[in-house]
């Protein structure tokens, strides 16, 4: 079995331990706490006023452009980390290639900046 398989087992066991911890504590709390609901208590909390309008209002998602940029730069990161590990042995050519790669992305960022995509309208 490969080591990454054991890595995954470790992640899985940690998830189980965390779930068990949260679950057990919540269960113990359920045994000892009081329960006395009333309509006022169960209403959405809006600082004492009666809740008005929808609970999940239609909101303008202003940051979808940021999300697009995130995808681009996240992929960039996936390429950069292996390079960062090996770049001493890869030498100058790899350095120039990565510089070009980042340069193109920076041009993209500059373009987005000029276009006002980094502004919160």
């Amino acid at each position: 079995m490969s080591t990454s398989f054991y890595d995954l087992i470790n992640v899985f066991v940690f998830t189980l331990v965390g779930t068990a911890f949260v679950g057990i504590v919540l269960f113990v709390s359920k045994l000892v706490r009081c329960k006395n609901p009333s309509p006022e208590k169960l209403a959405p909390y809006e600082c004492g006023n009666k809740a008005s309008g929808e609970a999940r209002p239609q909101t303008q998602i202003r940051y979808y452009l940021f999300a697009l940029l995130l995808v681009v730069f996240d992929v960039e990161m996936i390429f950069l980390f292996p390079w960062g590990v090996a770049f001493r042995s890869l030498g100058l050519i790899a350095l120039v290639e990565v510089a070009l790669f980042i340069g193109i992305l920076l041009l993209g960022l500059a373009f987005a900046w000029r276009k006002g995509a980094l502004k919160w309208q």
């Binding site: 079995m1 949260v22 706490r33 009081c34 809006e46 809740a51 999940r56 209002p57 940051y63 770049f87």
Partner: protein, 335 residues
């Protein structure tokens, strides 16, 4: 395929996991007390003083109170998601501890891709935050969840890029390897820019003032966990404090030499050095929280994309130049 899967392959990580659960529970209690004391100090108050030495037993009382508080499940909430969110917020913080080297040879699992794992996993908490905000059936919670998503998207990039310089110097992604590479020189010295970006971006990812827009109490009541009460509420608090501690622990590992004492002092102290360094970073984060006002959302996003991202790219370029020009000298320095 050669399968050497024994009970130990499950029990050893389970023991580490339990240890880390206890570790984080104890540290959260201490951190909450410390935060109250630091904030009191900054505002010329005493803070908790009544129960125990300087109020140190206050947290036990608070814990019992939270345990027996009524748990309110709002009528407008999406019940299943509402119950799921505390799990989703707490577990990622615990998962990150899997790759924390606490002493020479002491690590739950020294993954080959440890650093990338650490960069990826804590961000999952924001899914829990969004689920909490959305499922509560409250305007303020929904807005808090949305803001949290925008904030995470923006600070993920500089936080990851800032540690690329560390990877370039250490030549490995294994957390153990990164600490070993800092034998004679802590990375904070050649990577001071990277450290600053990492620290600022981490505070933003954890969602603390001045970047606490997802739960800004003066505008959103309590943000994404407005509707939570009792023990469920306390898991959000716990998740937040554990995330802060993990960010500082990892900052100590990546930039401050991990478990190594300054100038190789007292190597047998190992984990104590690591905790001391992490708590020094935590203390600075607390002082920052109680001295700076909150940023606006547009300022928040601009800091990330227009300041931190260019700085971290410059840092990568500088590191590459240093390693290429002063390669021999640096290799001698790094041992």
């Amino acid at each position: 395929m050669n399968v050497d899967f024994t009970a130990g392959s499950l029990l050893v990580p389970a023991a580490w996991g339990l240890g880390f659960v206890l570790f984080s529970a104890l540290n959260v209690m201490f951190l909450v007390w410390m935060e109250r004391k630091v904030s009191a100090d900054i505002q010329s108050r005493w803070g908790p003083m009544v129960r125990g030495y300087h109020g140190s037993m206050q947290l036990l009382a608070d814990m019992v109170k939270l345990l027996i508080k009524e748990d309110i499940l709002p009528a407008a909430a999406d019940k299943k998601m509402f119950a799921l969110a505390p799990f989703l917020v707490f577990i990622p913080a615990l998962l990150a501890l899997l790759v924390l080297p606490i002493g020479p040879g002491l690590i739950a699992r020294d993954m080959g891709v440890g650093l990338v794992y650490y960069l990826a996993v804590p961000s999952l908490a924001s899914i829990g935050i969004f689920v909490a905000g959305w499922s509560s059936g409250n305007k303020y919670s929904t807005l808090g969840g949305m803001r949290s998503a925008a904030q995470l998207i923006s600070y993920e990039i500089p936080r990851s890029l800032s540690v690329l310089g560390v990877v370039m110097l250490a030549g490995t992604l294994s957390m153990m390897g990164i600490v070993n590479a800092q034998k004679s020189l802590w990375f904070i010295i050649p990577q001071i820019l990277g450290f600053l970006v990492y620290y600022i971006a981490s505070i933003a990812e954890v969602g603390r003032t001045p970047f606490d827009l997802p739960e800004g109490e003066s505008e959103l009541v309590n943000g994404y966990f407005t509707e939570y009460s009792g023990m469920r509420f306390s898991f959000f608090m716990m998740g937040e404090y554990v995330a802060l501690l993990v960010a500082c622990l990892m900052g100590a590992v990546l930039f401050l030499g991990g478990w190594r004492g300054p100038f190789g002092l007292l190597p047998q102290l190992g984990p104590v050095w690591l905790l001391l360094k992490a708590y020094a970073l935590v203390y600075v984060a607390m002082v920052v929280r109680w001295t700076l006002p909150r940023y606006r959302i547009d300022q928040l996003l601009e800091i990330s994309w227009k300041v931190l991202l260019p700085i971290s790219l410059i840092n990568v370029a500088l590191t590459a130049a240093i390693v290429f020009v002063g390669g021999e000298w640096l290799r001698g320095l790094l041992g």
